[in-house]
Amino acid sequence: MSARFDHIHLVRRIVVYLVVAILCSVIQVWPGFHFSFPMPDFLLMLPLVAGMTFGEKDGLYLGLATGFLREFLGSHMIGPGMLGGMFIGLIAGRLRAPGTKKNLLRFILLPLAVAIIHRPLMAALETVAPPGDRPAHNVFQALTHALTRVPYDMLGAMIAVAIIRLLFLLGFYKRKKTRERGRRQTVLGG
């Protein structure tokens, strides 16, 4: 599945990542903009898709970048988002198996796994370091609440992966060379 992207130049990858990351961040946090379906977390799924497509290094660096972006946009501290993004990208890259059916299966299962783990993990972390002066709630209450939101997150994750994958396909679209096209026309024309 991902073999078609294997020879894309580094600069082009960086440019596409940059454009997609900024676009996703702007759409995701658009003020007053509501989704009628579960909100896709693009910035969380971006390193995952990059890792599954290009490998661990891309996943790691993009995870750090999108993690920082998440923290810049809506967190009271720096670290957990970047750490989370980094490991999501790394694991996605490690599980990558280009051009096999396994890869397709992992493309479906990994976002679901991330959606299941992410919210409860962040909820637990928030009880340790709340944005106010006082501890806001206990861990058990936070985890119970987080788990009720997991099905929506799973659906949102699948939507996000599909949209990011589409953006990657557009960004890394490779036109067939004129010579190849000409040769094919000659063959077809006899």
Binding site: G32, F33, L60, G74, M77, G79
Partner: protein, 286 residues
């Protein structure tokens, strides 16, 4: 393949560094705001460019669609315009008279002690743990936060939205009213009483509601009562509308009351906000 695999030492190093950053930046008055200020100078214009572009494209197509409908309304609007101009002139005269009366009688009006600074919501919350939203007002607009200093944030109807959590040079992060780390001293509008606490609650956050507790025994509370800030504590001005009581729970064993409040502010649909900053003596600017 190995070329694309990062070294283990790099991963360990990054993990340690980020864990350290997490500990450092969670502390009050950390250097997190400086880093965010610096990054904001690059990110905000780019994001703003995309937003403006999208809005313009949307406006363009919207304008084409509405062009025909608008043509029919022009005539009626012209008549209305003439009427409004006449009203405006009358209101101007009334406003001048009111200012004169206010100065002569030395009247104090709502939020007179404060300067109201208007701003735009830059982005809403991202998700769990990343649930603050950003506005385009910062240190340059007189917003200087510290561990014991913050500012109330209101919407266009002067209803409470939240408070400033941290401020950078040109932007600030707002902790919303429904967030479980938010708490404010409140009272019921139109009734003198001992203040109680209004706070966000994890259970109600997704529904856009908050709760009121810490009532003194015998406090009369009814569904439909409007809750306002009491002014106790000094952080929030007195009389800012918080919301309306939609449910009251009385515990017979502990004799305690708790209420569910529906905030009057527009919540996630918010586009513009107003921050109340304390006015410096003898100036109109904060």
């Amino acid at each position: 393949m190995n070329r694309r695999r990062p070294r283990v030492i790099l991963i360990v190093l990054l993990t340690v560094l980020l864990a350290a950053a997490m500990v450092i930046t969670v502390m009050p008055s950390s250097s997190r705001t400086k880093l965010a200020s610096f990054f904001g100078r690059v990110y905000d214009p780019v994001a703003d460019f995309i937003r403006t572009g999208c809005r313009r494209v949307g406006d363009y197509f919207g304008a084409i669609g509405e062009n025909r409908r608008l043509a029919g309304e022009i005539t009626s609007l012209q008549e209305e315009n003439a009427q409004l101009r006449q009203d405006l002139m009358q209101y101007r005269r009334k406003a001048e008279s009111f200012d004169l009366l206010k100065d002569n009688l030395n009247l104090k009006t709502e939020f007179d002690r404060y300067t109201i600074v208007g701003g735009e919501v830059l982005n809403r919350s991202v998700g769990p743990m990343f649930d603050l939203f950003r506005i385009n007002l910062g240190n340059e607009d007189g917003i200087m936060t510290s561990s014991d200093r913050s500012y109330p944030v209101l919407d266009h109807r002067r209803c409470l939205v939240g408070r400033i959590q941290s401020a950078e040079r040109r932007t600030s992060r707002v902790l919303p009213l429904t967030h479980e780390a938010f708490a404010v001293s409140a009272t019921i509008q139109g009734r003198t009483g001992i203040p109680f606490r209004v706070r966000g609650d994890l259970k109600y956050r997704d529904k856009g509601l908050c709760i009121a507790d810490n009532f003194s025994p015998g406090t009369p509370v009814r569904i439909g009562d409007v809750v306002i800030t009491s002014g106790a504590g000094g952080l929030f001005a007195e009389g800012i509308v918080i919301g309306e009581i939609i449910d009251v729970t009385r515990s017979p064993e502990t004799q305690t009351i708790s209420c569910v409040i529906k905030p009057t502010s527009v919540g996630e649909n918010l586009r513009y906000v107003f921050v109340l900053t304390e006015k410096k003596e003898g100036t109109d600017r904060p």
